[in-house]
Symmetry: C2
């Protein structure tokens, strides 16, 4: 054997070894049982050449919702907490807000009034507090906030309240040559400054809701200026559209937690060939939160009934996860 | 030295060796000279750790225009040829087209009339001939057409009339850990079925103009339906916006050929730190086409003057390229 061939053989050997231990050990925070087994079975089938369910690496696209799937969304969406903080700091420049919903409710601390303004109100709130500055300025505002803001219940940084089992799942999929995307109802530019560091998912693999922006050159200096106008809502039936526009491939695996993810899971599992859909059910009041059919944020109703009927994997946070958050 | 360290050292050695020969040999269709040297110098600087211009691999984003930059755009945009063929085959279902521009001109073979309808006419033509079907159906229509259509001058498939020097450039950048994207005025879904095979650029790395689409479930079968309405024009000032939306990072290198690429190159080169902009100048009437300031398709006027002033690299197809198309 030539030296080069020997080197190649040794490298191949070490890779094979790495991959055979990975299926057993890459999901240490998942309890052994049907849920973990369903994940491992699916990944093994699609990534084993010669298997009936084999899928070429270029087609191994996995999509994850963010709020409630990769990190918490209670007592409110993290981005909403960001928007509320922004309203407070921007109010001196917007005296008219005190009479206009949803700002009136925000300033009055009237959570019910804010909730009553519905998705439209939330989207308007986001558009207004996220616009009127350049792309670079917004990335800094969002990045600075996420670096310092704390969860109201635990006092911990939001980025430390991501779900350890889901981090392991992302790594496990990547090791098995999946390309992993976030497809979130949250603002695309709110997520991008930190997803690479926190989840190992780079900005170009983040799909989300967006506001309109325009290119402008002022005094010879080009900028992208964010406008107070919603461009795209990446939620519900918007998720397959966001996937179509940004990724251009139908995923083979989709991970969500609320009815806003329903169409994404439906679209994924209606492909010809092997596919996988998973719903995280928040049933762990002690270690996290317990909510589903009646929740304002992350309502899971249709998905709970239909998901079971369709053979989607329903994760019980309480029973399937050994650990919720990463070790500090 | 332990065995593992030895293996690592040998691997590092072989990688170093591969990279030092690549700068000399990876652009064989580029003539030696200032243009090739500018490319190699830039790539070496940004990818050499410790160099003053070093850029981390995660920030090494390169964006390429498609029409006129990676493949031909004369005598007309390839996608326009596709649209004209579609008008002919769809006309029986649209009797009203014979009185409405730009369809009237198309059906009358009136190129001047079509050109007079401007970008708006072209966009309408594209929207109308590319909509009214599902995403899967359109991918098939576009894929089938590109597999069989022939260039009117050479009789060769369009996908064989891509520029060999640019294919080498894409590979060279990828070897040096750039992530390469197409950012084209062309339709995103027209390109995606074939960019991976032809350029080695996967669908998720293709940014382009798009029409609106919606998610629909009919008889339990989900589909993405394409609507006859322009959603986004990825041209001129739209290109930095398309980059912002799809990639979420500012590129460090941009490659174009027309004034429609101007803002993309301007946005790229206004970043803090090292950047590179290149314009392909079509000055080779013998081997390809010669056009610039007066051309209907791929007009290059401002870019030619301003590009030189700003230190962008202007490629003469005639003088800088040994070969235009790949060997058959």
């Amino acid at each position: 054997m030539s030296f080069v061939k020997q080197l190649a053989a040794l490298t191949a050997l070490s890779l094979t070894f790495a991959s055979s231990i990975s299926s057993a050990d890459d999901l240490p925070s998942w309890k052994d049982g049907a849920t973990k087994q369903a994940i491992v079975d699916f990944v093994s089938q699609v990534s084993t050449e010669g298997s009936r369910g084999y899928v070429a690496p270029t087609e191994r696209v996995a999509v994850f919702d963010n709020d409630g799937t990769l990190w918490g969304e209670h007592p409110m969406y993290v981005q909403l907490a960001f928007a509320l903080d922004r309203v407070e700091s921007l109010t001196p420049k917007h005296p008219e807000w005190k009479d206009v919903e949803p700002f009136r409710s925000v300033l009055a601390g009237d959570v019910a009034g804010l909730a009553a303004s519905g998705e439209k109100g939330l989207v308007e709130l986001v558009a207004s507090t996220h616009a009127g500055m350049t792309s670079d300025e917004f990335a800094k505002v969002a990045g600075d906030w996420i670096a310092s803001a704390k969860h109201p219940k635990t006092g911990a940084p939001y980025t430390s309240m991501v779900y350890q089992p889901m981090l392991e799942l992302i790594s496990y999929l990547k090791e098995n040559k999946f390309e992993v995307f976030i497809v979130s109802g949250g603002g695309i530019e709110f997520m991008r400054p930190w997803t690479e560091e926190v989840y190992g998912i780079p900005p170009q693999n983040v799909v989300g809701s967006s506001i309109t922006s325009k290119y402008e050159v002022k005094d010879g200096k080009p900028a992208i200026v964010r406008l107070p106008e919603v461009d795209f809502v990446d939620d519900g039936p918007g998720k397959p559209i966001g996937i179509y526009t940004h990724i251009g491939k139908r995923p083979i695996a989709a991970f969500g937690n609320s009815d806003g993810d329903f169409q994404m899971l439906e679209w994924t599992t209606s492909r010809a060939g092997k596919s996988f859909a998973l719903i995280v059910h928040h049933d762990d009041a002690e270690r996290e939160f317990a909510y589903d059919r009646e929740s304002h944020f992350g309502r899971l109703d249709k998905g709970l009934d239909e998901g079971r009927k369709r053979g989607w994997t329903i994760v019980s946070m309480k029973n399937d996860w050994k650990q919720i958050y990463p070790d500090r």
